[in-house]
Symmetry: C2
Amino acid sequence: MPGYTPELIEISKNQTRCSECPIRHQTLFQGVKKEDLNLVQSYRTGQYRLKARQEIFLEAQNSQYLFSIYHGWCAIYKSLGNGKKQIIKIALPGDLIGFQSNIEAPLNYSAISLTDMVLCAFPRNEFTGLLNRNAFVLKRLMELNAREMNLCQNHLMAIGKNIAIEKISLFCAELFLRFHNIYQLPLTNRIFFPLTQVEIGDATGLTCVHVNRTLKTLSDMNLMDISARTLTVPDIDKLCKLGQFDAKSIHTYTLY
Amino acid sequence: MPGYTPELIEISKNQTRCSECPIRHQTLFQGVKKEDLNLVQSYRTGQYRLKARQEIFLEAQNSQYLFSIYHGWCAIYKSLGNGKKQIIKIALPGDLIGFQSNIEAPLNYSAISLTDMVLCAFPRNEFTGLLNRNAFVLKRLMELNAREMNLCQNHLMAIGKNIAIEKISLFCAELFLRFHNIYQLPLTNRIFFPLTQVEIGDATGLTCVHVNRTLKTLSDMNLMDISARTLTVPDIDKLCKLGQFDAKSIHTYTLY
DNA sequence: CGAGGGATTGAGATTCATCAATCTATGTGG
DNA sequence: CCACATAGATTGATGAATCTCAATCCCTCG
């Protein structure tokens, strides 16, 4: 089986070299010594551009690559049969996507871009080779997995809550904090936010109609507001409190 | 900080030696060569007994140990402030519990035994030493992490569904299949099942009252029945269908 | 035998999904 | 530049699903 190939467009010139990657410290390759970055780069197939709302890979299919997100956002999801989706996670720059227990097996989730993206591609069948050749990468992969678990657990807490306003508060508060963490920004009260209300529903297990009403309530309460692809949070502590989200747990996402 | 110490009772004699562990192939130490099992054992503090419904460790506290489950079941959960819990995962024999991104940091979840248990304890502060000294353990840890992710994602799908009967079907079907997988049993139609209805509710985001009513419906439909700490599933395929659970995904939990 | 945790049942209130219509912003082709 | 198509956002009405509160029952254990 040749594997599914998304509509990736290889960047023809001026690809970022791993040794000059500005976000290296938050990727799988954090900690790799300068002189070993050429090794990393030798495993990289290249950098690819992708438009918003395109499939990156599909559940149950094979994929040739693992991707490290260089730019943009995407959603990892599973399909539910009745046409619905469960969004597992929103992946941001630095995240590794497509890694799973049995690396050669068909994927057990799908990914779709939420913005235009740039992805660094690493061939699956050579990935364990890379792990074996550089202990830092292996160690860091373990850290990324553990971070994933933490995110997944928080997400579980969000959709396990029994009322919609708490689900959405927690979901958005976490993204808000992750965003600041990843982009290393001083705390502002607004972030870029490309998700539609349907997607917020797919992530939290609610219908888009109810998401809409709940967002209106949150906006009326002056706790958060989404408009024009921007999430505004006047007071993140209040939002965390409503979602019963421990903001400190976000610090464990970026390690050491 | 000395760290939280649960009421563990060290087994005084006839502790199982790692080299003779009957469930080694499904633990962190699958794949470790015979001659290296003494190394593993040298890192093990000992085997401990624990009664049902006891705390193993608590969120936000430090724990001296990581545990590999030798016998029994436990629940991993987060507390929600209002006295409620979100159960993240049911851990079964062979599972490693207490591992997280920053291994020395306070834990970000709690664990409570659901049955009497026997745990193998490994000191946290020496754990990375063990990983560095045996590549099989490191590789296997990665596999276990990936398996955890898979479980967590399935759990997300369960509680993301919009009706209770599907949530509970998926949750129980997964446990049913995991149980058979772990104990390597031929497919029977009943398994031991120690969870209370409150705990099923904590796992699926429902109240115990509604769990009760939904279980009655499922029983009336002859799809599954819980009584006397036994889960009976006349036709697992039907149950999976109702929960839209892909039974094949269970095979990815045990690797290679 | 009594105590207590878990299971069960009922009634009423709340939250949420569904269906359907409208509105708005954006982009596309002529 | 306009007409149109389309995706997303919004609103209303209705019924279903679920929660809450409360009472009762049942089983186990000391």
